[in-house]
C-alpha cells in the first residue's frame, strides 16, 4: 500500500505505512530539533530533554510509563541526533492505541520537575564520562569538532559537562515548549495499522500542542583541514582520517554511498583488504559518510598500535590517492551497487526500519522517497561518476586527521 499522509490542524504531519500481514507496529514521534539547532551555551539540551520526558508526566510516574508499554511486551525508547529527536514504541497492532496514549502523554505533558532534572543531569554526565572513556567512540566526536569547529554540526549531541551542568529547569521548560510544536513534529507509523485510525489517534494524542514555527537548519558547512592528536592512557591509537562529503540534497549522494562502500564498507572493501587482511595492521578499519542538509563528510576510521600508526596513515593515504587517481573498477561499482541495494531492501523488512525511513524522509525532504526511487538512483551511479567524486573529495589538501592514543 502507499504511504498515507495526514496533516493535523496544528501542522503535525502523520505518516502511515500499513503492512497488514505483520502483527507488530512501530510508532515514532519525531521532533525536528537536535544538537545542530542548539546555541553553544545550551549544547546538549535536546538530548537532555529526550531523557527528561521519560521521568514522568502530569498523570504517570516514570515507572508507570515504562510498565504501560513493557507490560504488554512492547519496547519504548528514544534517540537524539544532530537534527532530530525521536520517541518510539514497538508493540502489537492491537496495542496501537496504548502506544499513542503513552507517547502523546510524554510528548505533551512531561513534568520536567527539578529533582528529576538533577537526577538525570548526573546520568548524562556519567554518559559523557563513559563516552570519554571509550576512545573508539570519542574520536568521532573530536573529529567532527575539529573538522567543523565553528558550525553547530561539529558539536557533540551529548553537549559538554559545562553546558549540561548549567542547564536549568527554566531552560528545559522553555526548550520543550518551543520544540514540541506542530510544525516541528512528524508522526511515522509502520506495520499493522489502519491509516484512518492512526490519524484519529494522532489527533487525540497531539492535537493540543501549539503549531509553533518550522525549524531552520543551520547554514552550509565547510571542512577545516589539519591534524590533531589527543594523548590518552590507552593501548591503541583510535583514528579518523577524512575530509568533505556531499550533503543530503546533493545529486551525488548515492554516488558517495557507493564510493564509501568501495573504500571501506565491508570485508571486501579496499581498506579492509589492504590494512587488515594483507598487512594485519588493524582489527577495525572502515569508512562512513555523514550527510546533512548543510553538507557532509566522509571518514576513514580504525584502531591500531602506536608503532604501526604511521604505516596505517601511509597505507590509507596511498589507497585514497589510488582511488582519486584511477577510480574504481566497473566490477567494484556493480558489486557495491548490488550490495547497497540488497542491504537496503532487506533492512526494510523490519517495521522499525520502515518507520525510521518514512519519518526521516519527511523531515529531510518533506516527502516520501520510495524504495524504487532510491534503487533507481543507485542504478544511475556510474564508474566515471564515482571517479569524479573521488577526485573532488579525496584531495589531500582538504584532509583532517584526528587521533586519540598514548603519548
Amino acid at each position: 500500500m502507499p504511504l498515507f499522509k495526514a496533516t493535523l490542524p496544528n501542522s503535525v504531519r502523520v505518516l502511515t505505512d500499513p503492512v497488514p500481514s505483520v502483527r507488530s507496529v512501530s510508532v515514532g514521534i519525531w521532533c525536528h530539533s537536535g544538537s545542530a539547532h542548539e546555541s553553544p551555551g545550551r549544547a546538549g539540551i535536546a538530548h537532555f530533554a529526550e531523557h527528561m520526558v521519560f521521568k514522568g508526566t502530569k498523570s504517570r510516574s516514570a515507572m508507570e510509563i515504562a510498565e504501560a508499554i513493557e507490560g504488554r511486551g512492547g519496547v519504548l525508547n528514544a534517540f537524539t541526533d544532530k537534527l532530530n529527536t525521536c520517541y518510539y514504541v514497538r508493540c502489537l497492532g492491537e496495542d496501537l492505541e496504548n502506544a499513542f496514549e503513552i507517547l502523546g502523554d510524554i510528548f505533551t505533558a512531561c513534568r520536567l520537575d527539578e529533582p528529576d532534572l538533577e537526577t538525570e543531569r548526573k546520568v548524562i554526565l556519567e554518559e559523557i564520562r563513559r563516552s570519554d572513556d571509550e576512545p573508539g567512540d570519542a574520536v568521532h566526536d573530536h573529529h567532527l569538532e575539529s573538522l567543523w569547529p565553528d558550525h553547530p554540526l561539529g558539536r557533540p549531541v551529548l553537549g559538554t559537562r559545562s553546558t549540561v551542568g548549567d542547564t536549568s529547569q527554566s531552560d528545559m521548560r522553555g526548550y520543550v515548549a518551543r520544540s514540541h510544536t506542530g510544525h516541528k513534529t512528524v508522526v511515522s507509523v509502520a506495520g499493522n495499522a489502519d491509516p484512518d485510525h492512526v490519524a484519529t489517534l494522532a489527533e487525540k494524542a497531539l492535537g493540543s500542542i501549539a503549531a509553533g514555527e518550522p525549524t531552520h537548519d543551520p547554514g552550509p558547512v565547510s571542512g577545516t583541514p589539519g591534524e590533531r592528536y589527543l594523548n590518552k592512557d590507552v593501548e591503541q591509537v583510535h583514528f579518523c582520517i577524512g575530509g568533505p562529503g556531499v550533503g543530503v540534497h546533493d545529486p551525488r549522494l548515492h554516488t558517495q554511498m557507493v564510493l564509501d562502500n568501495i573504500l571501506g564498507g565491508g570485508m571486501s572493501s579496499r581498506l579492509f583488504q589492504e590494512v587488515r587482511e594483507k598487512l594485519g595492521l588493524a582489527y577495525a578499519i572502515g569508512t562512513y559518510s555523514l550527510s546533512y542538509p548543510s553538507g557532509g563528510c566522509m571518514t576513514v576510521y580504525g584502531g591500531t598500535s602506536p608503532e604501526t600508526w604511521p604505516q596505517v596513515q601511509e597505507v590509507v593515504d596511498c589507497e585514497l590517492a589510488r582511488m582519486a587517481a584511477e577510480g574504481p573498477t566497473e566490477d567494484e561499482v556493480a558489486r557495491t551497487k548490488r550490495m547497497v541495494s540488497g542491504n537496503m531492501a532487506l533492512g526494510l523488512e523490519a517495521m522499525n526500519s520502515r518507520m525510521l525511513r518514512s519519518g526521516r524522509n519527511e523531515l529531510t525532504f518533506g516527502r516520501e522517497v520510495t524504495i524504487d526511487e532510491t534503487l533507481q538512483k543507485f542504478g544511475e551511479v556510474t564508474r566515471d561518476g564515482v571517479h569524479e567524486l573521488a577526485r573532488t573529495l579525496l584531495d589531500p589538501a582538504s584532509r583532517r586527521i584526528t587521533a586519540i592514543g598514548p603519548a
Binding site: 500500500m1 502507499p2 498515507f4 499522509k5 495526514a6 502511515t16 503492512v19 497488514p20 500481514s21 505483520v22 489502519d194 491509516p195 484512518d196 490519524a199 593501548e235 591503541q236 565491508g266 570485508m267 571486501s268 587488515r276 587482511e277 594483507k278 598487512l279 594485519g280 595492521l281 588493524a282 582489527y283 584502531g303 591500531t304 598500535s305 608503532e307 604501526t308 566490477d331 558489486r335 548490488r338 550490495m339 540488497g342 532487506l346 520510495t370 524504487d372
Partner: protein
C-alpha cells in the same frame, strides 16, 4: 615425549569434527600442557603467507588473518625451518613485529617451531607466555616433537577425510537413487538431495539453486544449514557470483575461501554459518543446465579431485531426477490444461455476454477495449503458468505483468501515472489464479479510468500480502476523489464482486486520507 603426551594431542585432534575444530583442540591442549598464555597455529596460505588457523585463548576478533611471507618471528621460522626459543624480552627481538589483532602486547617469551605438513612451505606452531620462560631452550626438543606430532596428525586427519569421502560416494549415490525415486514432489527431491549430500560428506552447508523459467536467475530452492534463519541470497543472476558463473559456463568451480573471494556475494551468511571453502557444481543433463549445487566446508581446505567428482556425480543424478519430476508434472498439467482452457473459454464467453447486456453509455470501441483487457488478464495467467512452477502462480508476477500492460494501453496522452507493485512471493494454485488475475485487472483498470479522469498525474499502488492462509490485495490511487454512487452500478465492480464471492472472499472500496483504496481478501486455497 611420552605415550600419554602423544595420545593427549591425538585425542584433542581426533575429537574435532572439522579441521578447524581439530586445530583449535590441539592449540588448547598444547596451552594446557605447556602452561602457555597463548598458542597460535599458522599454516601456509595459497598466497605464500601464513594464515592463522587456530588461536588459544579463542577470540572472535581474529577470524581471518593472513601474515605476509617472512613477516615477524613466525615468518622467520617458516622461511628458515628453524625452531626459535626466546626466554625473555620478546618485544626486543629484531624478528618480532607487532600484529595488533594477535594481541601482541605484553608477551615476554616464546617458542616457535616449524610444522612440516607437505608442500613447499612450512607452517608454524607458536607458543607464548606473558612472563619469562627460563626453561624454554630445554623445551625446544619437546616442542619440536609436539610440532612433528601435530603435522603428522594433521596429515592423517586429511588423509582419513579424503578416504572417507571416497567410500561415501557409492553409498550416497545409492541412497539418493532410492530416495528420489520414492519422492513424488520436486521440493521433496531437492530437500532430500541437500540433506543427503550434507550428511554423507559432513558439509555444514549445502544449497541448491534452480534456474528460473526465463533462465536469467538462479532461485534458491533448498538449503541444508545449521541455522536456516540466516538469510542467503534468494536470487543470483546468471553470470554473477560463483553460482551464476557455474550455471552460465556449466563448469564446476572451487573456491578455497569464500571470505577472501571478491566474486562471492554471500559474505555475511558465510560468516554467520562459519563456512570457508566451497565447491559449486552444475546440475547438467546432456548439456542443459538446470541449476547448481554449492557445498561448503567449515574450514579452508582443498576439495580433492575424487571428492569433487563424487559431488558432480550426485549433481548429475539429481539433475536427471529433477528433469524426470518436471516431465511427470508437465504431463499431469497438460491434462489439467485442456480442462482449464475449456473453462477459460467459457469465462471469456461469459464476460462478452455480460458486456453485451450491460453496455450502458459505452461506445462499441470502449466495450471491446474493456473486454480485450479482461481476455489479456486471462492470457497473462496462462503465460505465467507455462513458465512458472507448474502448479502454482505468483500473484506478484501476475500484478507486475498486468500493471505493465495497463500502463501502456490505458493511459491517455498527457497523463502521468506511476505504477508500484509491492509484495513478497504470494502463490495461489492455478485453479484460482485466473479469477484473481481478473480481479487485479479490473481494480487497476478502475484505478486508472476513474482515478485519473481529471487528475493528470499520480500513483497507483498494487500491494499483495498473505497472512497465514488469507491473501489480501490492495489497489490504491491518489487521483480523483472516489464517487461511490457512480461506481455502484459499474460493470467492473459487479465483475469484481462476483469473482470475490467465487473465491470465497470479500471486496471493499473506500477512501483513506486522499487515497481511493480497493481491497480484496480471500482464502489462499479452496474449491472454485
Amino acid at each position: 615425549m611420552t605415550q600419554s603426551h602423544r595420545s593427549g594431542l591425538a585425542m584433542a585432534i581426533a575429537s574435532g569434527s572439522s579441521e578447524r575444530r581439530a586445530l583449535a583442540g590441539a592449540a588448547e591442549w598444547i596451552a594446557g600442557e605447556l602452561k602457555a598464555d597463548n598458542v597460535a597455529i599458522l599454516l601456509p596460505s595459497p598466497t605464500g603467507g601464513l594464515e592463522l588457523r587456530a588461536y588459544h585463548p579463542s577470540s572472535s576478533s581474529i577470524e581471518h588473518l593472513v601474515l605476509g611471507r617472512g613477516v615477524g618471528l613466525v615468518g622467520y621460522v617458516a622461511e628458515t625451518g628453524e625452531t626459535v626459543s626466546i626466554q625473555h624480552g620478546l618485544s626486543n627481538d629484531p624478528r618480532h613485529v607487532i600484529v595488533p589483532v594477535l594481541d601482541d602486547s605484553g608477551h615476554e617469551s616464546a617458542i616457535a617451531a616449524p610444522l612440516r605438513i607437505g608442500g613447499p612451505h612450512a607452517g608454524v606452531l607458536m607458543i607464548r607466555r606473558r612472563k619469562e620462560w627460563p626453561e624454554a631452550p630445554s623445551l625446544e626438543g619437546y616442542v619440536n616433537a609436539l610440532a612433528d606430532d601435530l603435522s603428522c596428525a594433521l596429515s592423517v586427519y586429511r588423509t582419513a577425510f579424503e578416504a572417507g569421502s571416497q567410500s561415501n560416494v557409492a553409498a550416497t549415490l545409492a541412497e539418493l537413487a532410492d530416495t528420489v525415486s520414492g519422492a513424488p514432489y520436486l521440493e521433496e527431491i531437492l530437500d532430500q538431495l541437500v540433506q543427503i549430500t550434507a550428511r554423507r560428506f559432513n558439509y555444514p552447508v549445502v544449497t541448491l539453486r534452480l534456474l528460473d523459467s526465463q533462465r536469467e536467475w538462479l532461485v534458491l530452492r533448498a538449503t541444508h544449514a545449521p541455522d536456516l534463519s540466516v538469510p542467503r541470497e534468494p536470487m543470483i543472476r546468471i553470470g554473477e557470483s560463483i553460482a551464476g558463473r557455474v550455471a552460465q559456463l556449466g563448469k564446476t568451480e572451487f573456491v578455497e575461501d569464500v571470505l577472501q573471494s571478491k566474486d562471492y556475494i554471500g559474505h555475511a551468511g558465510a560468516i554467520e554459518h562459519g563456512v570457508r571453502s566451497m565447491v559449486c557444481v552444475p546440475l547438467d543433463v546432456n548439456g542443459r543446465i538446470s541449476g547448481v549445487m554449492s557445498c561448503y566446508a567449515g574450514e579452508v581446505r582443498q576439495f580433492p579431485p575424487e571428492e569433487i567428482q563424487a559431488v558432480e556425480a550426485l549433481a548429475k543424478q539429481a539433475a536427471v531426477s529433477i528433469e524426470h519430476g518436471r516431465l511427470q508434472a508437465r504431463d499431469t498439467l497438460l491434462q489439467e490444461m485442456h480442462h482449464r482452457v475449456k473453462n477459460n473459454l467459457q469465462q471469456v464467453a461469459s464476460l462478452v455476454r455480460i458486456e453485451l447486456n450491460r453496455r450502458g453509455g459505452k461506445t462499441t470501441q470502449e466495450s471491446l477495449s474493456d473486454t480485450l483487457a479482461r481476455i489479456e488478464a486471462i492470457a497473462a495467467v496462462h503465460e505465467l503458468l507455462s513458465r512458472d512452477d507448474l502448479d502454482h502462480v505468483s500473484l506478484t508476477s501476475v500484478a507486475n505483468t498486468l500493471a505493465a500492460a495497463q500502463q501502456q494501453s490505458l493511459l491517455p496522452p498527457g497523463k502521468s501515472v506511476n505504477f508500484h507493485v509491492k509484495g513478497g512471493d504470494v502463490f495461489v494454485d492455478t485453479s484460482r489464479a485466473t479469477q484473481v488475475a481478473l480481479v487485479i485487472n479490473e481494480l487497476i483498470q478502475n484505478a486508472v479510468k476513474h482515478g485519473f479522469k481529471v487528475t493528470d498525474s499520480g500513483d497507483v499502488h498494487v500491494s499483495i500480502e498473505a497472512q497465514s492462509e488469507i491473501v489480501g490485495i490492495w489497489v490504491s490511487n491518489n487521483g480523483d476523489k472516489l464517487e461511490p454512487e457512480r461506481l455502484k452500478d459499474s460493470l467492473g465492480i459487479q465483475i469484481i464482486e462476483g469473482l470475490a464471492r467465487a473465491l470465497g472472499g470479500e471486496f471493499s472500496l473506500g477512501e483513506k486520507l486522499g487515497w481511493t483504496v480497493a481491497h480484496l481478501k480471500f482464502p489462499r486455497t479452496g474449491r472454485t
